[in-house]
Amino acid sequence: MDGIHDMGGMHGFGPIEREENEPLFHHPWESRVLAISVATPVPIPGGSRNNIENMDPAHYLSSSYYEKWLYSRIKGLIDAGVLTPEEMKTRMALLRNNPNAETPAHPDPDAVRSEFKRSRPATPPQQKMDIQPQFSNGDRVKARNIHPEGHTRLPRYVRGKYGTVTNYYGIDNLQDAELPTGCTNRQQPLYAVRFEASELWGSAAETKSAVYLDMWESYLEPV
C-alpha cells in the first residue's frame, strides 16, 4: 500500500539522531514485546507488517518501534480470535489497580514449550524448483508501476524506474498480499537490481551512487 511507512526518498525528517551508549532496550516492556512477538506461536492474519502499515499515519509517526510491534501483535491476536478487546481492557484495569497482581499460573508448561519449539523458522530462497528465471545478469529491466492497496515490497520511489539485473538469488516466496496482474505463482525468481541514483532522483542525485533492491520477477518488465 502507498502508506506512510514507504518513506524511501521523503524529505522532512531532519538529521539522523544518534544516542551515545544506546541500551539494547529503553524500557523493560520493550524486551517483553520482542519476546512475545518472536515466540507466540500464532500467525498474525495478513502479517504483522501489514497491521503496522495500516496504522493511521499520525499514529504510525508518533509510535516508537516497539509500540508499533505491540499494536500489531495485539491487533493480530484479536483478529486471530485468540484475544478479545474486552479481555485486554479488563486485564489492563486489573493491573492498573493492582500493579503487583501475580501473573496467573499457566496450564501446562511442557505443552506450551513443545508448541513453541515446533513453530520455527522461515526458509531462505531455494535454488531448486522447476522455474526458469526470465532475466539474466546485465539485463535492463523496468520496475512495474503498480499501486496495490495491500502489503507490497516494491517501494514507491523505484516504481516505473529503469535498472539493471546484477544478481540472481534463487526462487523466493513473494511477500505481497495480492499477486500482480498476470501472475499466478508466489514462487518467483528473486534478483538484485541496480538503479542509478540519477534514474531515481534526477538532478538531485549525488555523484557516483546507486541503489540496489531485491526484486521478485513479477515486479519487473523487460526493456
Binding site: 518513506m7 539494547l24 491476536l77 496450564p107 506450551v112 523458522p121 538469488y169 555523484t207 541503489v211 533492491l213
Partner: protein, 196 residues
C-alpha cells in the same frame, strides 16, 4: 516515562498475562528469548565473521558466495532463517544498508538494530542522499568512491564486510575482532587504523 510509555508498559503486562493464562507462552520462554538477545545475539557475531574473512581468504570467498552457510560455520545459527548477503567494501566501492519500508536488519550477525537505523530520517534519506547521511556519521568519502545503497526490501539480509585497516598485519584474529564495529558492518563507518 511519558503517558504513551506508561500505557505501553501496562498493555504489555496485560498481553503477557493473558497469553500465559491461555497457554500460548510461558514467563520462562519470554525470559529466555530476552536473555538470548541480551547475551548471545549481537554485533560480536558479525565481528567474528569479519575477522575470519580478513584472515582466511577461502572463508572470505565462501562468505561472499553464500553468506548464510558460511556464517553458520562459526557455530552460531543464522536465526530468522534468512539468507544473508555479504557486501565487500573496497577502496573503490562503499556499501551501505538500509530498510526504507520497515527496519529489516541482519539480527543473527548484528543483534537488534540501534534506534537511528529505525529512524524515519535514516530510512527516508539513506537511499536519496547517502553521501550526506555518511557525513553526519563523520564519514567523508571522496567522489571517486562509488556508493552502493542496499534497500533490504525482501527477506534477504545484508551485512557489510568492511575494509581491513592498515597497520593490522600482525594482529591475531582475536585482536581483529575487537576492532570491528557494528556501524562498519552497516556501512556508516570505516574501521580506523589502530596506529592513528
Amino acid at each position: 516515562m511519558n503517558t504513551a510509555e506508561t500505557d505501553a508498559a501496562l498493555r504489555t503486562r496485560a498481553l503477557e498475562s493473558l497469553l500465559i493464562e491461555k497457554g500460548l507462552i510461558t514467563e520462562d520462554i519470554i525470559d529466555e528469548v530476552v536473555e538470548k538477545y541480551e547475551k548471545d545475539v549481537g554485533p560480536l557475531n558479525g565481528a567474528r565473521v569479519v575477522a575470519r574473512a580478513w584472515t582466511d581468504p577461502d572463508y572470505k570467498q565462501r562468505l561472499l558466495e553464500d553468506g548464510r552457510a558460511t556464517i553458520a560455520e562459526l557455530g552460531f545459527d543464522s536465526a530468522q532463517g534468512a539468507k544473508i548477503v555479504v557486501l565487500e567494501n573496497t577502496p573503490d566501492v562503499h556499501h551501505l544498508v538500509v530498510c526504507t519500508l520497515c527496519s529489516c536488519y541482519p539480527w543473527s550477525v548484528l543483534g537488534l538494530p540501534p534506534n537511528w537505523y529505525k529512524s524515519y530520517a535514516y530510512r527516508s534519506r539513506a537511499v536519496r542522499e547517502p553521501r550526506a547521511v555518511l557525513l553526519e556519521f563523520d564519514l567523508d568519502l571522496p567522489d571517486a568512491v562509488e556508493i552502493r545503497v542496499w534497500d533490504s526490501n525482501s527477506d534477504l539480509r545484508y551485512m557489510v564486510l568492511p575494509e581491513r585497516p592498515a597497520g593490522t598485519e600482525d594482529y591475531t584474529e582475536e585482536q581483529l575482532i575487537s576492532l570491528v564495529t557494528r556501524d562498519s558492518m552497516i556501512g556508516v563507518a570505516k574501521i580506523e587504523s589502530p596506529s592513528k
